[in-house]
């Protein structure tokens, strides 16, 4: 098999092994630091790749990319500050676990979940790449619209408070997502004369402002520290049998969700993580546990985002189509070396494809080691006294946001979103539904209108495409079930409100 005859020999050369380690180490590092994510690190290291072999360059850059998904959950769990946008959802249950003294098991489960999601993702990438390519290509505007609509309906109520608050937050998110040039008409919406808003508000700005910066502001004057989580030792990390058992299925489902969204250009780890969380909450027997340290709520999204980053290499490597900004940089690194990405990459440069895939296996094992026995290293990074750590984190968030497009404007935006997020905390409004509305809303709008242009305004034609029809049917079922559940609950408990869960609120 090519993986063993070409892949591992390439990836195991001393040089490439070193680049793989450097990549995943750096990835974990930038992942752990709130605000700075894989995109920033990959962009910064692009010039370095000039001086490397193309395969070494790719191994290094890819290592950063998937390494950041591992590291990102650490700060979510310990500090309620997401390391990257795709770890934002991990805060919801990860931080309550920490407050219950279960930081160790939470970190353990996310690392194992990441490993399982990641490695199964690689297996899918190897075995099913051609099938995934045709799946991704069969997703036209109608299918995207139908899938994202289902996603929005499913994820709209991922918050822990009253559903109506969640819905309002989702709508607010959708409105924020409208800012920028409308793809279909070229009109400017809510740009207020700022060129910087033409392309809309960057996702990282919203995520880091609402989740990261607001948490820093809220903690001013409060004494809390990672030490409240207790010392994280290897022994303290081993989850009890109950948690272990409770995480297996969510991890596998998370992997399923991640490897579905990963190969679709334009979606990716953040959507996967949110969807995996939403699914767990939907199918849980006691959904009210979510938001209060439900172990499924950390296991599933972390497995999903890692499965998504690995499978997102499918369109990149098999078609030369970048599904995200980070992937575009990796393709750029190849093109600078004169390698033309495209359908022939696998055939023309087998050492590149299989070497990279082999490096994924090696990298994931390295990451497991970095994140379980060596977790103390990263925890230490976050155990700096708070009066020092939080100002540093503020700087990191600003630097991270600035570095995306070297724009001071974005720094102002993240500060504004930090203040808005703080206000939302005071009003007990949750940022997670807002973020999902912000991500999905504009995609739904653009794809819906595009689908209608393509069908010449025929709504029925949208339903006649089998994949889209299946998604519409699921949406209808879900809405029907939600309405049914609501009526049944009303009947059973006519006066009693849903128990408002006070515990686990961070404020």
């Amino acid at each position: 098999m090519d993986l063993f005859s070409i892949g591992f020999p390439t990836a195991l050369s001393l040089e490439n092994l070193a680049y793989c380690f450097a990549g995943v180490f750096l990835g974990t590092f930038v992942g752990v630091l709130p605000g700075i994510g894989g995109l920033t690190a990959v962009a910064l290291l692009l010039p370095v790749s000039f001086y490397l072999d193309p395969i070494s360059a790719l191994i290094l850059l890819a290592g950063i990319y998937y390494g950041a998904e591992y590291g990102g959950s650490t700060a979510s769990i310990l500090l309620n500050l997401p390391g990257t946008a795709s770890n934002a959802v991990t805060c919801i249950d990860g931080y309550p676990m920490t407050r219950q003294g279960k930081a160790g098991p939470a970190l353990f489960i996310t690392s194992v979940g990441s490993f399982i999601g990641g490695t199964l993702g690689i297996a899918v990438l190897m075995a099913l790449a051609p099938a995934l390519v045709s799946l991704a290509l069969s997703f036209g505007a109608a299918e995207y619209f139908a899938a994202m609509l289902l996603g929005l309906i499913a994820a709209g109520t991922i918050g822990r408070g009253k559903p109506v608050k969640s819905v309002v937050m989702v709508l607010l998110g959708v409105c924020l997502g409208l800012a920028g040039i409308d793809i279909n008409s070229g009109e400017r919406r809510f740009t207020y004369g700022f060129f910087e808003l033409f392309d809309g508000i960057p996702l990282v700005v919203v995520a880091m402002g609402l989740f990261g910066m607001s948490e820093v502001i809220a903690s001013v004057g409060k004494i809390k520290s990672v030490t409240e989580a207790g010392r994280i030792t290897l022994r303290s990390m081993i989850p009890d049998r109950k948690d272990m058992k409770a995480s297996i299925m969510p991890i596998l489902r998370g992997f399923g969700v991640g490897s579905f969204f990963g190969p679709l250009p334009g979606t990716g780890p953040t959507i996967s993580a949110f969807m995996a969380y939403a699914i767990e909450k939907r199918i849980a027997r006691q959904p009210e546990r979510f938001g209060n340290g439900a172990v499924e709520g950390v296991a599933a999204p972390e497995s999903a985002n890692n499965a998504a980053v690995q499978t997102s290499f499918v369109p990149t490597l098999a078609l030369g189509i970048p599904g995200s900004a980070t992937m575009a940089i990796m393709l750029g690194a190849l093109m600078i070396h004169g390698i033309q990405p495209g359908p022939r990459l696998m055939g023309d440069h087998p050492e590149l494809f299989w070497g990279l895939v082999a490096s994924f296996w090696i990298g994931n094992v390295l990451l497991l080691v970095l994140n379980i026995p060596l977790i103390g290293l990263w925890v230490k990074l976050l155990q700096i006294p708070y009066r020092l750590l939080y100002p540093i984190i503020l700087c990191m968030i600003c630097i991270g946001v600035y570095s995306i497009s070297n724009s001071v404007f974005d720094v102002w935006l993240v500060i504004i979103f930090g203040l808005v997020g703080y206000g939302m905390k005071l009003l007990d409004l949750e940022p997670a539904p807002l973020l999902i509305g912000f991500i999905l809303g504009p995609m739904i709008e653009a794809q819906f209108r595009r689908a209608l242009i393509l069908t010449g305004g025929d709504y029925l034609a949208l339903m006649q495409r089998p994949i889209a029809a299946a998604f519409f049917a699921c949406s209808a079922l879900l809405v029907g079930w939600m309405v049914y559940a609501m009526f049944r609950r009303r009947k059973a408990r006519p006066v009693e409100e849903l128990p408002e869960v006070a515990e686990g609120k961070t404020l």
């Binding site: 793809i183 033409f198 334009g266 078609l319 575009a328 600078i336 595009r450 393509l454």
Partner: protein, 328 residues
């Protein structure tokens, strides 16, 4: 860039700030690191071409070149902020048809009524000017421009053609095609080539006027059919592809260029020095090969020549944009 050179660069930069700069003499240039602002994200066409060329340029300079990506608003964000820097040759700006066209559409360089690039930027040189490729999905059932035109005529407003956005070169090239071939297509805008090409491969859209590197690999693979190049004459990089004009659409010519600019007011000697350095770098065989892989052929010009060419070409694109707007 290595750490030591970065450190050195920072120290030199600090020194320049402290001594207040002063007039730059062409023979001393560069005496400090040169910033090249790329108003598009890393990994894109402008970025890759800029990096390939300036990697070589930097070898001939005693000072490093710092590539700075400032993406946003089709290149407007980066271009506008870099435009305000001093014309001392230490801030250079990469541009594409798209970014210069965006300036014009914001009314910049339009003081005299017609677009005059020199009002807002000093053109340094063109880097490359390459045709787009007319690519169709096999299910459309056409294999030449003649067949495409015939099909479009028999069924107006039925062939969906994708573009990388409203007013983008890939959109306006389609508008030009409609005008000259006397047909009507159905425009479907996407956000970027990266989103449009999968839609073309999947058959959601059937036609696209796309950058060669984004569609030719799929044409070789049989997933798409490349009908023609959009330039006036055949491209040396793809000699087997006919031109659109050869296919019966007389006078059709649309090419996308990448070029280098500086803020206005660059002293002529300095401008010449930069032009020469870049032109020499583009003559290097390794650079030519790396550019060819991008579907780009080096096409350096003298500053004046480039200025006239940009002004003429932007005016043509603006006319098309006006037609497109009237159609909406």
């Amino acid at each position: 860039m290595t750490r030591s050179s970065f450190l050195a660069a920072s120290i030199v930069a600090a020194g320049i700030v402290l001594t207040g700069g002063g007039a730059v003499l062409a023979q001393d240039y560069p005496a400090q690191p040169v910033n090249v602002v790329i108003p598009f994200p890393p990994g894109g066409g402008t970025d890759t071409i800029g990096r390939i060329v300036f990697n070589k340029v930097a070898e001939g300079w005693s000072e490093p070149v710092v590539i700075q990506n400032q993406p946003g608003a089709s290149g407007l964000v980066g271009t506008l902020s870099a435009m305000r820097e001093a014309p001392d040759g230490y801030t250079l700006i990469m541009g594409s048809t798209g970014s210069i066209l965006s300036l014009a559409r914001e009314g910049m360089g339009m003081d005299s009524g017609a677009f005059q690039i020199q009002e807002v930027l000093t053109p340094v040189t063109q880097l490359s000017a390459d045709p787009y490729v007319v690519a169709v999905h096999p299910s459309l059932g056409v294999e030449s421009i003649e067949e495409l035109v015939a099909l479009a005529k028999s069924d107006p407003d039925a062939i969906p053609f994708g573009s990388s956005g409203i007013g983008s070169a890939s959109h306006l090239t389609g508008v030009l095609f409609e005008q000259l071939a006397g047909v009507e297509l159905r425009h479907v805008p996407y956000s970027g080539t990266g989103e449009a090409v999968p839609a073309l491969l999947g058959g959601d859209i059937k036609l696209m006027f796309a950058p060669p590197s984004s569609v030719l690999p799929h044409a070789e693979d049989g997933a798409l059919i490349a009908l023609a190049v959009t330039s006036e004459e055949r491209s040396a990089l793809h000699p087997d592809l006919p031109t659109v004009a050869e296919g019966g659409v007389a006078g059709f010519s649309a090419i996308g260029w990448f070029g280098l600019y500086a803020p206005t007011g660059v002293e002529p000697g300095l401008l010449e020095a930069i032009n020469t350095a870049v032109t020499d770098a583009m003559a290097d065989p390794a650079v030519v090969e790396a550019l060819a892989n991008q579907g780009a052929a080096p096409a350096p010009m003298l500053p004046d020549e480039y200025r006239d060419w940009v002004n003429a070409d932007v005016s043509m694109w603006l006319e098309l944009a006006a037609i497109a707007e009237a159609e909406e």
